[in-house]
Symmetry: C2
Subunit: 221 residues, 2 copies
């Protein structure tokens, strides 16, 4: 009898671990981070993460075996996506845990941002007020497909690589708030550099769409 219980326990924890293992690699987390923004092809993902095609494919297959991602063939391409929005939940709670547990994550970020001009992010409460009042404009500097997939309500898409050439489209006299994939994404930091170089007052929203939705969940407006 005791062994029946042990076997049952082993089986359930084995299943949990299978999923946890799918997440337990820096590269796979990076792939998930990208997939959390929008579905992407293996080629896209390999390029964005700096992995070889074969290696990216193998990581994706490993996650597929754990049912964490799903794929579909579209002509020559295979497009991967998260198997379920709950994957984002786990990913975000892992982020949040890392921030509490690991002082190192703060150090790494500080070190990266050091020397760059005022990068202090704006709080979501303040942002909401200012957007309503019309004193600020929120730009989403991610690629268009990610903006299409989901974005913070009220934001306008200015993909990073188009930002410099489209800078005239920004309304004058309003502060620009830029956001991208999330607190550890570098795109909004780069956007700020471009904007400040042109003398435009700009700040960063450190949250991405998912963090935003998480924070503002159950709140109206």
């Amino acid at each position: 009898m005791a062994t029946v219980h042990r076997r049952y326990k082993d089986a359930t924890f084995e299943i949990f671990a299978r999923i946890a293992k799918a997440l337990a690699s820096p590269k796979r987390l990076e792939l998930l981070d990208l997939l959390a923004q929008a579905p992407k092809t293996v080629e896209n993902l390999a390029e964005a993460t700096g992995l070889t095609l074969a290696n990216a494919s193998q990581h994706l297959q490993a996650m597929k075996a754990a049912h964490v991602v799903a794929s579909s063939k579209e002509g020559l391409y295979v497009r991967y996506r998260l198997a379920d929005p709950k994957v984002i939940e786990v990913y975000l709670s892992l982020h949040s845990l890392a921030e509490t547990l690991d002082a190192e994550i703060k150090e790494v970020t500080d070190k990266y941002l050091k020397g760059r001009e005022e990068m202090e992010p704006i709080a979501s409460g303040e942002l909401r007020k200012r957007l309503k009042a019309g004193s600020a404009i929120l730009i989403d500097v991610r690629p268009e497909d990610e903006y299409q997939a989901d974005h913070v309500p009220g934001s306008i898409n200015f993909p990073l690589h188009e930002l410099e050439s489209r800078i005239a489209e920004l309304p004058k006299g309003r502060e620009v708030i830029a956001y991208c994939r999330g607190p550890y994404c570098v795109q909004s930091v780069k956007a700020l550099e471009i904007l400040k170089a042109k003398g435009i007052k700009a700040r960063r929203l450190s949250a991405g769409v998912h963090q935003w939705k998480r924070e503002t969940a159950g709140r109206q407006s």
Copy 2:
């Protein structure tokens, strides 16, 4: 410049992965599951999980290195605890993900419960009503230290191994609802077997304290 960004990304995902790896083992998840109930000594944990002392100690140290658990020496014993309540958040969201992704987890549970009499769990909403109305009594069949650490409000502690001998203490004419560590814990199942053998009407609450708190968060009563 591109390499600066790559290095920054690598560093942050490395940190996330370090934490994820600490969770990515069936045995370590089982240890965390126990620690989520109450702090415990290495000896306790080794016995409960069926690991050798040395092996349990090594797993615990691995998690300690990732700052997921903390320990303190108490005389001869070393007592381990979760480093932060947020660890539970991640663990619960992993559970919840596993349930959505993996049909297998349901199969394993069904198979285990098969043949045992009516084990359908009671919903938390219904439970609250019936406790208020006084038509049911909620018993916590976990060991006393876990009950002391935290329990569902209104529950009474009847540790599994004392249940049979203390059965007379149960009020007559009320249905008994038993709960333990969570949906995959076998103690409440065993409790039901004992109670039913004595002809006492009993059901199971599949949630543990943490699931209960999560479900009823932001609700009053």
